[in-house]
Amino acid sequence: MTLRLNEDFPVNEEGDIVMARRLVREFALQRGFGSTDITRIVTAASELIRNIYVYAGKGFMRVSFNEEVVRVGITLTFSDQGPGIPDIAKAMEPGYSTGRSMGMGLSGSKRLMDELTIRSEVGKGTTVIIVKWLSK
């Protein structure tokens, strides 16, 4: 399984979580991140892909690279058309969970990454975008 940059990787079943993790690991390595950063990125991705699977059933992930004068970055987008998050602030609190995890998905992913943005509309779906930067 290969995935190109800026291409959608569909998440439909549990097994896709492991596949998506593997892909994210490859991209992060290609981008030049060190092992600790790669583990952080892959773990955050794992949390967010699981959120898609558990709450929305299906959705997709996309990987893109950022280029700036003094730094480069990796951006991961996780999107679904699931139930949406009614109270984003609450969902960002550590320990908040309605599913089967430690409830660290969103707050933990934010701590693992440099940036995390959520767009969500009840009944329409959720998009989470995370970014990790690397100084040139």
Partner: protein, 296 residues
């Protein structure tokens, strides 16, 4: 102004450039036609202007207005030394630059320039002499680019890399199974991450059971710093090693208690020696004084 000069002050809102300049005569190399006018208008990141042979501003573009702050009607006809800070004027820089351009064709410089509001910006400046086909000096073109952001970014990178070198915390093996890390300076989250990485890797490399983290050199501890410390300690524990926090001065102890930071789960000692003793206890080692047996 010389009568044969083909550069005219056009005034207006700075959107006009001298449409009067005949393409082949005055500024033939500039291609002063419609496409040149559009080119200058679109180059918003550059101040592009022309000076007459005496150094008076003859034309002005939106880029110039945008980052020097003057409107065309305010600046046209003024001497270009208005853009220079006092220090540069003291060195007679404007005259030197025009002379250089006259002699060599082009003069380039990087330095501070002044905006209308008095603020300074870091600029790269290129002044080129403009000559007629007969070789008569008819003025200068001056292209200025604002490099303030670039300079700030470069300075920031330099400072950061200096800080990283300066603040890199060594993690030393002080005994078989014991590593020691003296923390110096304040601990923000970026530095904590680095410190954690280094500490954990060293614990694994040296196969240590105890890590002494000495905070004697940490000036103050706030809730955030304490949180970072606790995180580092938690992470070390996950590896199967223990952390002893040493160098807890009275002031730091007071702060920690007043802030309500609970370090009850964490082994702490006021001195490094005390910490080392704890480490040896954990390793089930004992330091025994050698008895000489001769003198009393």
């Amino acid at each position: 102004m010389k009568t044969q000069s083909q550069i005219h002050a056009t005034g207006g809102k700075g959107e006009r450039v001298p449409a009067e300049v005949p393409p082949n005569q005055a500024a033939g190399s500039l291609g002063s036609d419609e496409s040149y006018r559009l080119l200058v208008l679109t180059l918003r990141d550059y101040a592009i202007l022309m000076l007459n042979p005496e150094g008076l501003v003859a034309t002005w573009n939106p880029g110039a207005e945008r980052f020097k702050g003057y409107r065309a009607d305010e600046i046209i006809g003024k001497h270009f030394s208005i853009f220079y800070p006092a220090e540069a004027l003291a060195r007679d820089l404007p005259r030197i630059e025009l002379e250089g351009a006259t002699k060599l064709g082009v003069h380039e410089d990087v330095g501070w320039r002044v905006r209308k509001d008095g603020s300074q910006f870091w600029a790269s400046v290129t002044i080129s002499a403009l000559r007629s086909d007969e070789g008569v000096l008819i003025g200068f073109s001056k292209v200025t680019k604002d490099l303030t952001l670039q300079r700030a970014a470069e300075a920031r990178i330099k400072r950061q890399s200096d800080e990283i070198l300066e603040l890199a915390t060594p993690v030393m093996q002080v005994w078989k199974g014991v590593v020691m890390a003296p923390l110096i300076g304040s601990l923000d989250s970026a530095r904590t991450q680095q410190f954690m990485e280094r500490l954990l890797n060293r614990v694994v490399e040296t196969n240590s059971s105890v890590a002494l983290v000495d905070i004697m050199g940490v000036p103050t501890i706030d809730t955030k710093t304490a949180q970072h410390l606790i995180e580092s300690i938690t992470a070390v524990r996950l590896l199967g090693a223990q952390v002893v926090l040493t160098g807890v001065r009275p002031g730091i102890a007071q702060t920690l208690v007043h802030l309500g930071i609970n370090l009850a789960d964490i082994l702490t000692r006021s001195s490094l020696a005390g910490g080392l003793q704890v480490a040896l206890n954990i390793l089930k080692l004992e330091v025994v004084a050698k008895t000489r047996g001769l003198k009393e």
